[in-house]
Structures are given as structure tokens and as C-alpha cells.
Symmetry: D3
Subunit: 321 residues, 6 copies
């Protein structure tokens, strides 16, 4: 619990039922509806960097200003339980003139650190064709967007910077695997790792939370990413810069096969070692995120297990030895 100006910021993940509190939060979503007996209610989904919660705003609540997704508010509220979930009943709301950024979930390391790691990774690629290509794919315009993008809508790293964080994590794992085995083309593997989700720049758009773009739903980041890389290679060739045929095939294959199987949306299976490693490390990083997030989110009701997760079809064991 930390003091910020006149407000005591209560982190959402620490709220407990039956208490009243003051805090500053970001409006993530808003829904206006009428009860059956005709009263108007606003359902707000509010969040800070530690979590999110629903807040109900009755007509009786004092609100100075316009409630909209993306706006930061000061909120006095009571915590209660509804349908076995925590819920806030808003007492007073004040619109604040603050940036949404600090109230969004974010990577564990700072953006500066992540960018530093990214630059270092780029510079470690020695193959001249891949080096040149990476500079073109990650040109200043793309770079800006890449550093802001989320890595998914829901499952993992679904926040500003999540795509950068995830891509670095996958590249880091690939790097270590490449050290372990002989005959791995490290430059190819790392280039693939850094660009494997580049199509997500076109697949998602961030409002305050990631959403699919129409293009994203109609084509998917696998096709979009492969097309982007193909374009940059064509540009090189047009400018008279060579790019070996086999290297182009292999790099695009890394992108296209990185979901590992047809039923998970790769139109081809990984057909050589680097492609398989990239698939495996992408999957591993996403799953570790899920496992660790389950422990963080855990409400502690049960000493050993999380609630049932119907997406993964399991309870997660949250106890740490």
C-alpha cells in the first residue's frame, strides 16, 4: 500500500471482502444496463498493474465527469462478494487527469532493460543476410510498435510490452538450447525466435486490452508474419542485396511451423531441428507464464490447488516447496 498524492492506492490483488477503501484505477471496460425494475446501472471493469475487478455503479453514486474505458479514476468503494467473485460497490468516483500506462499490467523487467536486451540479441547475430534482414524488419517504425505490443489476447503476456518480453524470453531459451547441441544454426534460430510472432503486430490492436483486428482474425499472425518477412527479403533483392534461397525458405519455415502442429494452426509441421526447438521454446515460455500466473492469482482458499481451469482442463498445484 503506497501513498500517491491525496489517495491511498490499494493494489487490487490485496483487497478483501467486507472493507471500504480509496484507490486509483483504470477503467478497462464499461457496460450500461437497466435492472428489471427499471433502475440504471453501470458495470465498470477496473484494473491496476496488479489485477482487475468489477465495480457496480448505482444511480446513487456520485460521479464527477464522464466514465469511459481508458480513463483513470479515483474510487471510494465497498468490497463484497457476488456469485462467488469479489465485486466493488462504488460510493464516489472522480475522473482524474492521469495517463493510463502506470495502471496497466506490465512486464517484470522495465521496458528499458528489455530494449537493451533486445539490441544486444540483435547485435549477436553474425550472419550478414540475417543481420541485414533483422534491421529491416525491426526498422524504427516497427520497433516502436513491437515494443508496445501484447503477445496474446488472453492466455499469456497480454499487455503492453508483452510481445517484446515473450520474444526475448523465447530467444533466450533458444540460445541456451543451441549451446547444448552441436550443429544448431544459432543465428537462424535466434532470428526466427525474435521474429516468430511479428505477425501479431497486425493481429492485435491495443485499446486498454488487446483485441483482434479484422485482418488478424481473417488471416492470423502466422500468415501475416511470414508475408512481412517475405516482403523485406524481396526489398533486399530488389535493391540488389543477395539473400540465399535456402535461408529464405528455412527462416519462413520457422515462422510458419512455430505452432508445432496443424491443429494448432501451423499449415506445416516443423521439419528441421531449429524449427522444432523454436516451437518447443515458444510453447514452454507461454506455459510457464500460465503456471506462474496461476500461483500469483491464487486466492489462497485451498492450500494446495487453484480452482479448476476449464481451458487447461486441470487444477494447478500452487503450493511451493
Amino acid at each position: 500500500m503506497e501513498k500517491k498524492g491525496p489517495y491511498t492506492v490499494r493494489e487490487l490483488k490485496n483487497l478483501s471482502p467486507g472493507t471500504q477503501f480509496w484507490g486509483k484505477y483504470l477503467i478497462l471496460g464499461k457496460n450500461l444496463r437497466k435492472t428489471r425494475d427499471g433502475r440504471e446501472i453501470i458495470d465498470l471493469r477496473i484494473g491496476d498493474s496488479t489485477g482487475e475487478i468489477y465495480s457496480i455503479v448505482w444511480e446513487s453514486c456520485t460521479v464527477n465527469g464522464q466514465l469511459e474505458a481508458g480513463v483513470v479514476i479515483g474510487l471510494l468503494g465497498d468490497i463484497g462478494t457476488y456469485n462467488q467473485r469479489l465485486q466493488v460497490t462504488a460510493k464516489r468516483i472522480k475522473i482524474l487527469e492521469e495517463e493510463a500506462g502506470p495502471y496497466l499490467k506490465k512486464p517484470q523487467a522495465s521496458l528499458e532493460e528489455l530494449i537493451g536486451m533486445f539490441e544486444q540479441m540483435l547485435q549477436s547475430i553474425a550472419d550478414p543476410y540475417l543481420k541485414e534482414l533483422l534491421q529491416r524488419v525491426f526498422n524504427p517504425e516497427t520497433r516502436t510498435r513491437f515494443f508496445q505490443a501484447p503477445a496474446a489476447k488472453k492466455i499469456h503476456h497480454n499487455y503492453y510490452g508483452g510481445l517484446l518480453e515473450h520474444s526475448l524470453s523465447v530467444a533466450g531459451l533458444c540460445n541456451k538450447v543451441a549451446d547444448t547441441y552441436p550443429d544448431i544454426n544459432r543465428d537462424l534460430l535466434l532470428s526466427g525466435a525474435l521474429m516468430h510472432d511479428i505477425g501479431k503486430l497486425a493481429e492485435y490492436e491495443m485499446d486498454v486490452a488487446p483485441n483482434y483486428t479484422p485482418e488478424g482474425r481473417l488471416l492470423g499472425h502466422i500468415v501475416l508474419g511470414s508475408e512481412l518477412v517475405a516482403d523485406k527479403i524481396k526489398d533486399m533483392k530488389k535493391e540488389g542485396i543477395e539473400f540465399p534461397q535456402e535461408l529464405e525458405w528455412m527462416l519462413k519455415h520457422l515462422l510458419v511451423s512455430h505452432h508445432g502442429s496443424l491443429e494448432f494452426g501451423s499449415p506445416v509441421l516443423p521439419l528441421f531441428t531449429e524449427a522444432y526447438i523454436l516451437y518447443a521454446m515458444d510453447n514452454l515460455d507461454a506455459r510457464i507464464y500460465v503456471f506462474q500466473n496461476k500461483i500469483e492469482e491464487d486466492d489462497g482458499d485451498d492450500k494446495y490447488f487453484s480452482k479448476y481451469d476449464s481451458f487447461y482442463g486441470q487444477h494447478f498445484f500452487t503450493y511451493r516447496y
Copy 2:
């Protein structure tokens, strides 16, 4: 049975065991091996436009010239049975100076007819953006290759002109379905039908039979085709020719979703009517080819059923009422 110069051309599908014959055939494949007791044998796979068969060439057989895949030969042989399949024992072989073309399996209509139908179909597209795009995709260079290409390695339309024949057939079916239902965008649907397998130009290469290219196996015709169309649209835009954003998404979606499900290699499901129709008609034309081919190939051993087909997991009912 038809006279051609000094030879009596016996169609392969009409040969029966226990007879001797003269004929002209194309060598489709050749394998040299040694028997266990040290004698050299050549196994030839020979074909004409009606079928194919294996021919065994012992050292004692007279051969004037060099046996190679792609070469047309005159052959005197005996038909026998080996491992329940017909097989020719070659007695005399003469290399002929003929083109391979007439000895290859080919579409039912002539290439001229098919090209005529293709041009007519192209001209029936009224939407100006799609019309322009089709001219660019089917530029003279592509057109030449498109008219020669096979539609698959094995399952269906696996011969010169097969891709054209199949694409027209699918477009024809789509046209009829578009007539049946209101609110179908016929131009979009037909454009998608004509270009749906365009990536196969890069996926296969023809020797005397279709083979995968490395690019084809590593990326697949879905990704390759989508990229080709995307390129042509980019070219248009660079030249200042407009192409509506949604139309681009929808057209590329038609290509990308045309296998109908993830497990069959489309990274996205068909998400609107035209995409579903294209998938259904592509599948229907291929399957009808298979059914009708089973009847043609049938050896007549059983009045009602073909032999078990392990790929489709069924016997085909070959009786016609």
C-alpha cells in the same frame, strides 16, 4: 487399339495377362538393381495416357539406346502377374524420337477448350479491382505455367493441365452455388476459386510426374499462394491503383481457409459464406475425381466393389445403375 506407324499401340488399361504385344510407351521411372544371385535387372515404370504398368528388363532383353525417364520407347513384351499385379516382361525395346506429351495422362477436355473456358471465366468478373488483380496474377508468364501444372502429387488431377482443369471445375461449381443463394459475392467467390491453388505453381515441379519442391514442403501452397496474391496487390498500390482493404482481407482469407479446417492445413477456419463455399467445392471436385477414377481403374474382379483403399479407409462401390 489403334495403328500408329509400324506399331500397334495397345492401351495399357486394356492389357490382359498371358498375351504378347507391341506398343509405344513413355518411361516414367527407372530403377537398376541386382538379384541375389548377381544378375542385373532394370525395373521400368512405363505409361501412356490411359494408365501405367511395371516392366522388367532382364539382361537378355535387346535394348537399342539408353533407357531414361522421359524417353518414349517401342516395346515388345509379355504380360504376366507378379504379387497379384500385372507386369510386363520386356523382350525387345527401341528408343524412339517422340515427344513425351501424348503419352501422359491428361484432362478430359482439350487444353484449348480449357483455356477458352478460363478466359471466359476471367472476363465474367465485373468488379474492377478483382479484374485488374486477376490480370496481374495470371500474367503471360504465370499463365503458361498455370496451364501446364498438376493439381496434386497423387490424389487427384496429378498431370499436366490438371491444375487448370481442377480450378475451372471448382469455379464452375462455385458459380452455380452463387446462383442458388442470394447475397453471395460472385466475383469474389470466382476470383478465389480461380486462384485458390495458385501456390501450387511453387509447390510442385513436373518431371514426368509431379514432385514437391523444397519450398513446397517447407511452406505449402496455402502460404505460397497467399503471398503471391499479396504481392500483386502491393504492386497495384505502389502503382497508385486502389484496392479496397476489406476486399484484400476477404480474398486472402479465401485462399488461406480453403482447406476448411486446421487439421487439413488451413491456419484459419472459413469465416464467411464465400470462403465456406470455396472450401466445399474444392473438396467436392477432388473427391468426385477420386470416386470416378476408382470406377475407371477398377479391374472388374468384383462386380460391385473396388479393392480396399487404405487412404480413404473404404471399398468403393463401382457398380453403375
Copy 3:
């Protein structure tokens, strides 16, 4: 919006939240319940030919007469939102003496048109055995029921006349496919198309909406339909009218295999061309219905996509170019 007697009929699909309206609707379902604090509420599901909606009737609402499923009412109500769905709060309800028919969802063409098309289709069958059989299957008694029946409980064509509309649509598509390919037995295929869902006469019963009969759930329309056709052929034989053995097998096979695979409830796979075409066209017509219905039902909240449909596991792209 159309004037009918003293009422202004508001089509259900055009209602928008926050307004009051008068209209005439059919009661599709009724549920009486008590709130937790003891007040009695009636939940009505009401519909007209354009859609359906839930209406809540509090004790305070004036109702003259008895509310029952199948009854037409005049309704004064307020439109609101509850759990993100539109809902009517009834203010005044009057029981009307009207037939339910005009308030039910119905085919796009009129019943007369459909029957005309059906008769024409029947007469186009030239094979004498099939012609005779169709007259017996579609005898006057069956015909009456066939023209009234729905084609499904939920997914597609689930209204009076839906079975006729769907059967004609499938037969029309089959007819076009038969034109496209050589060696299709058109009479067999069309006969199969017209009768493929004949078992649904016994599988469903219409109240105001389709319901499964016990026989329908225990045996399914595939077995019921095949049995019905078998019976009629037996009748012919008993009367000394010949019916070729193979034709009987093939026709029954068309009915029995028309779901296309075992996991969708056909005990055998389609084993010849006509059977595969029937399966494909049945599936296509049902899916096009679903796609087009998604566009009609769409609430316009999102410019491009429908809400997530958990049955099909996808969002539908509702934008039309």
C-alpha cells in the same frame, strides 16, 4: 413497420433499447417462477416471423386472458437490456384470436412456390422405379406433413416448411452438380436428395417450435427414413411391381450415408459418387443457412464480426463487400 388493425406491428428484429412500443406477437414459451423475495414473475418467450425475444411479466402488468404457448397477444412493452441481451418489460397484454401461422419464422419463398418447385422436381424424375416410389413415399398424407415439417430442432431451417425448403435446396444443388460431371445418375441423386431427411417427419414434432419425439431420439432420422423407404419398396414388390435390387441398395445407401461420416451419425461412409454429392450438398445448404443467418441476426455492435459462437467455435465475419 406495418399497420395491422388497431396495432402498429413492430418487427422484433428492429427493436432498440430504451423505447416503448405496441405490437402483436406469438407466445413461444412460458415459464412461471418466484423471485427470492416471493413475487411471482412470468417469463414469456415471444416471437414473430423476424425473430424472438424474452418478455418479463410482473404481477403489476395488466393481462386480459390466459397466457399460453401458441397464443397470439397484443403487447405494450419497454425494451431494456439484461445480462447483455435485449428484454421486454410487459406493461399491458391482450389475448388475441389470431392464428399462430403468420407469426412464425418461415421460408423465404412462399409455401405455394415451394410446393410448385417440389412437384416439378418430382416430375423431372424419369426412371420408372424411382418415379413410382416417390409417389408412394410422398403420398397425400405424407405430403401434407412434409410441407409443414421443420428440418432441424435448432441449427438450420427450424420452422414450418423448413424441411421442404431445405430438401428442395439440396436437390437443386445436386441437380447442378449432376450437370457438371459425366456419369452421374441424376434420377437416383435427386430422389435421394428429396427423401434424404424424410425420417425427420418421425424425428420431430412441431409445437410452436420443433421438438424431438421419443422415437426420434431413440432411433434417429437416418434409421427411420431408411425404414420408411424400405417399407414402400416392399409394398411395391408385394403388389408385383418390380424394383431393381441394386437400385434399392443404392437408394437406401444414399439415405443411410448422408451424414458423411460415422462420428456424425451415418453408420456407413458414402461409397459411391452420388452418395458423396448428396452428403456434401446437404452439409453445404445447412452451413450456408448458418452463415447467412449470422449476418441477419447480427446486432451491429462490431463492424466486422459476430459474437463468438461456441457451437461452431468461431466468430463469423458479417461484413459484406
Copy 4:
């Protein structure tokens, strides 16, 4: 080893490589072919009630009479190994005038015993409707065929009398399960058990081994059996003999659902207890047959396990404690 007239009958399952023997066997199949160097060979598949083996007949072998499937022969031969399987090289063959019956695989109990058990089971059914129906289904004509029929083409009970043996076995198991639980309708369950595979009378025809009929492949025994039972009930009704509606539904459901799931060819799932029991007991009897047969067939090469069975995807443990 038993003396029969001038021949020493060697049971096929006791032959071992490297020996010469005399014996009497039935020809199960015959294939004439030519070797690559032009010699004619006949491949005979011969069997007795204990097993079967391939015998190769070179031109040098003395044969008095015509070799045909279904003929009993006296055979002098040498046992050898070819492609890791035992094989006989025929030295002398004599056509004998004997019935094929005793040389076929058959049930463990005698046919008389089985028929006795069958009659007893029929008489134990007390429900008058089912009793009458069973008399009609198992009329003298059907009974004759039912007592001769096989229960499958390959997997289990694939011999004369196999259908009777299997049906009794399933009915016996059902009877015991019915004793264990309250509220099981024993008469319904046993009637279903006796008739569950009745459609196989039309699905298979016996030559010397079972083969599918065209009707069998096109429709399957589930549909054929259900139709047969439906016919007999219709006959009863036409003759003014009542048959309760629900009982008809339930009995037909037993037949139609007895494969237990859609992917195994039942168009509906078992929806009540008796239907589930019938499915489970049918499956159990067939699988126990397979397990016990694996032990019988076992060549003893490995003390503990059979060879890999690719149909079941496992080795069978053949050791008995």
C-alpha cells in the same frame, strides 16, 4: 494325430518346419500366377478345423483332378519357412470326395448343444409381445440360416455357427448382469441380445469363409437388423396382434445402439440401462474371443508375449498363471 482311412491327418497347428507329412485339408483359396522367369505356380490356402497355411504348388507337383476353393484334398508336402511364415511345398495332391464341413473352424460346443441352449433361452422369455416377435424373427427359414452364419468376417467367431455361439454368449452374460441389478427388464435385454446381430444374416455370405454382401457393405447389419425387426412387428400389427409402442422403440434402440458409440457405427448412443448392458456384453464377448484366440494361436517363440498386433496396437500377454 489321428488315422483316417489311408491318410495320417496332421492337424495344421502342429506342423513344424523341416518335416514331410501326409494329411487331408480343405482348399480355402487358390491363386494362379507366373514367376518372373515364366513358370506357373499355384498358391493354395488350405485349412482344417485347427488352423490354416499356404501351400505352393509347382508345375512338378502331381495333381489328380481340379483344384478349387471348397474342395477337400489329400496332400503330401514339405514344411518350410518363407518370409518368416510356415509354408508347405506340395509334392502330391489328390482330390477327395469329402464334405468341407469337418475341415472348417467351428464353435467349441456342438451345434446341437448350441441349438438346445438357444431354444431354452427363447422359452425363458415371458413377455408375450417379445415371445411372439422372437418366434417370427426366428422362423424356421431364418433359424436355419442363423444356425449356419458367421459373426464376423475376421475379428471374432468368423465361422459356421459363430453367430449363434456369439449371440448365446452375449445373451448369457446379459442374463447374469440382469440378475445382479434391480430394475433391469430381463426379457427386453435378452431379446435384444439374441437379435442384436440378426442383420448379419444379410451382411455376410459364407463361401468357405465369410464375405460381405453388397447390401452388407452399403447398409451394414445395424440398419439391416433394425429393418428386419421392424418388418416383423409391422406384420404382427397387420395381423391385429398388438405390440406396445414404447417396447418397439426400446427394442429397436437396443439393436441400433449396440456398437456403443457413433464412431463405431451406431447412429445413436445407448440411452437406457439395457441398451448399455447389451453394448458392453457384445463388446466383452468379442474381445475375450480375441484374447483367448491370441493364446491359442501363439507360436511359443516368446514365453510371455504374442507378436505385435497392429489392429489392436499391442502385444498380448499369453502366459497363463
Copy 5:
């Protein structure tokens, strides 16, 4: 309806909406929550041996004492409907000093009868190794727990004594199957049947309803049971009591394979007859429980079918002929 002291015990399965009643029930679960307008509500899940229901307790309800899961209460309440389910509104509640036992669901036979059957089954095992092992596995301490344990968390036999009841039932079925076929090792099969779910002693713990233990979720009763049996055999060996190697393998295989397939959690398939029979009978007893329970639970709304069961993906036919 039975008089017990001052209260009229109403069996829960006989309650109907719109009536007031007195009765004695066990609290199975309790949840405290606040309504949106701030009132406190307690949701109780209460049960007796015939069923369970939710009861809502408003602040206005008189309660003398502390409401906790496991406590028996006297309850005056009104039956109503909420969200299409019956629900009790509590008027007055009194905590009673009674044991929970009689209010819990229980086996159909008395515990004494079940134990008698169990002892008899144990004594019927003649094989000396298995006899000794069973005495050790079912030592007095285990026996006490085994007689109290449930057989599952939800699906079947989920009550005190359920494990014993289920194990006996499976053993009884196995015994009958062993009688039907030659060459079944009855002692092995029955020993396996009695111990097949022994790992559930560690997998579940009973509060008033079964819950998974952490060990149960992390390892599962298949591994836990196999380990327990292995331990007891090791103890025998340490004490110098022989146990045949093959018998140990086979018995443990029975436990480990009894779910019948990998996807249902057996790490190996049943590889010999007894293992397959145990799997089939375990499954059969559980499924018959489900079928019969559906009939018992049925609310009679529909003459023929239960509501849709999403776990089994079907409606159950509840009509009895």
C-alpha cells in the same frame, strides 16, 4: 413421509414447489454473500439420504445456533423455483444434536450385509499367495477405512460405503464372467476386482462429501493403489513368504490397466483376458449406476427423457417398460 420426534421428515426428493414444510436435514455446504444492495444472505446446500437442495437464508430467518457444514438442522421452509431449479426459502432453522450419518446418501444394502459379502468373497480365494496378500492389504486398519470410503467424487457411488459397494459389485460381475469362459484365473480376477480401487483410500478424503487429497490429484489412485499392493508383496518377501514373480506382474497389471485406455488414465492397455474383464466390469458397474441414478433423480417433467446431461452428451431415456 415418516415421523421422527417432533418433526415430520420430508424426503427431499418428494418436495414440490409452492408448499411449506418442516424437516430435518444435513448441511452439506455453506456460502455467505452480500447482495448488491448490501443485505447478507447465506446459501446452504442441505441434503438427506434421498437427495439435496439449495436453501436460501435471509437475515430475517430465525436461526438458533451456528450454521456449519456437517451439522444437522431442523428447517421450516417454503419451496420455490429459481433459475428453473427448486429452492428452499428458510423461515426458521434450529441446530440439532444429531449424527450426520443417517442423513447421508448410502448404499442400497446395509453396511453389515456388504461386509458379510466382502468376507465371503475374500474367503473364496483359494490361491495361497493371493489369499495371504489380501489379508495384508485388507488388514484391520485398511478395512475400517475401506468400509467408509466413497468410490468417486461425483460420478458414481460418491458416499460412505460406496467404494465397498462398488468393489463388491465389480467382483460379483467378474465372478459371473469367469464362470462363463474357460481358462479364466478366477482368483486373480477377483483379487484384482477387490483391490482395483484401493488407491482411492489415499485419493479421496471424506468431509461430508468426497474431496481429492493433494496426493490424489498429484498421483492418482492407479499409481497409489499399485504402490500399496507392491509394498505388501515386498513385506511378504522380506518375511520370507514367496510370491510368484509372474503373479505379481499380472496382479499389478490388473490395477494399472483397469481404466482400459491411455486417455482414461491407465498408463498401459489391458494385455490379457482377466485385465480386460476387470476394466469392462468396472466400467459397466459405474455406468449402470449413472443410468439408474438418472431415473431416480428424474423430475418427471418429460414422460420419456431426462434433461440433457452435458458430461455424457446425451439425454437419458427414463421411461421403464
Copy 6:
């Protein structure tokens, strides 16, 4: 090619058709059979550390001594092709008195190096409970067997020392992943990695190639390994050495869940981070082995792809950039 005494050792992977050679090899398998015309042939499977090949031994070949699997021979032979595979025709064979060891496939590092790495890994475990347990699991007797064992029958690391090599590789990967993420219990993870396949000591036995033991097929290494670890922990407890309850559960869970899903033979899914990492790294190491082996085995017929591999359902891309 290396000189060893009087013989020129030709590595098997370097042989090419049409040449004669001398070399020393190990007999891996032997099969005696008769040709159809009565001549005796011996088929030998021979190998050295680089590969294996079939050699055919006619009666005319000189053999001094007894040919048996496990024996080292000197062989003069001709290389030919049979059924598209290389095959040796033996001219002269001499039994040699050499150890089989040097002729077997083996790990890339020497056994000494691997053992050194293993000891180091063991010593890096700091947790006292795990440290003690590892000493007991890897006691001198087990260690000897562990250092000799194969990791699989066919797919990967199927040679002496393969289990050690694979376990170290998995542990090494796990170590690196543990470095990458916070909150991983490295000691738990590495202990699990080292012991994850310990059950394979009982699952396989080595002759000259790995074979399943009966126990291995009936129970599987997952159950066998878990039991072994459970035993050692019980021993510790009996000796009064504590072992935390949760640690025991978690460690056994690592072993039991390491196949990652039920259909691959784990009776439970990985439920916490370390278990998922172990599964992923085990799978990765095995798959990389397969990919790299495909490149090594490649015959170079095709510049880019291996032959079709039906187990993995793909061609492998063998080109290295």
C-alpha cells in the same frame, strides 16, 4: 577407413553398392530360412558403431565357426541393392574372439565424461532430502546398471549408455531453464530430471539391442520408476530420516507426469511448473535426437529431404545452411 590387424575396417555407413570389401562387424540378429526351391539361407543383421546392414549367407559361403547374435566376425562381402536397400552378399566369414562393445552404437561423449558430468550434477543438489534420496536411488548397484542402460527400444538413445546420456541432457536443459525463470525449485527439477526414466532399468533388458522385459510391458517405466523412488523414501523414513510429505508428492508427480498427457501414458497431467518443464525438456531432447539422426542416416539421394518417415508422418529437411 582404419586398419585393425589383418583387416581393413570399413565403416558401414560408408559402403556403396557394387564394391567388394573386408571388415569386422558384430552380429545383431540371425534368421535361418529356406528358399522356395529348397536352398538354405542365413540372413544376418550386422552392425558396427556407425550403422547396420543385412547380409545374406548362401550355402556356398565359407563360414568357420558358429554364427550367433553377439558374435564378432570378419567378413568378406559384395555390396548390392535389394528392394531399394543396400545388402551384403557374404563371401567368407570368420568368427573372431573380440568383445562386442566397440561394435555397438554409443553416446557421443565417452562414458567416463558422462559419469563425471553425472557426479557433478548429483553434487550440485543442495536440498538435503533430495541429496540423500539420490544417493540411495543411485546406489552402486543401480549406478552400474544405469550407466549401461539404453533410453528406448527404438526411437532415441537406444544403446548402452543412452539412458545416462539422455538423462544428463534433460537435466542440463532443465538447469538452463531454471536459470531463466524466477521461482523454479532447481533441486527438485534436476532430481526429477536425473530420475525421470529410472524405471527403464526394469523396463528394458539389453541383449545386443534393447528389448522390453515382461514387467516393462505389463507395467511401464512410469509406474516402475515411481515405485522405486517411493521405496527409497520409505526406507529413509524407516531409518528415521525425515522426508517432507509435499516434497515426496511433488517428486513422484514429476516422474508420473513426465509424458505430458494421458494419451502418451502419464496417468496425470503436469500440474506445476517444474513438472511441465521436465516433460518439455524430455520431449525436446528425444526429438532433437531424432532430427539429428535423420541427417546422419541420410543417404544423400535427395539434396533437401529424407525419405518419408511414417512414424512421424513427415519428410525431414536434411539440408544444413
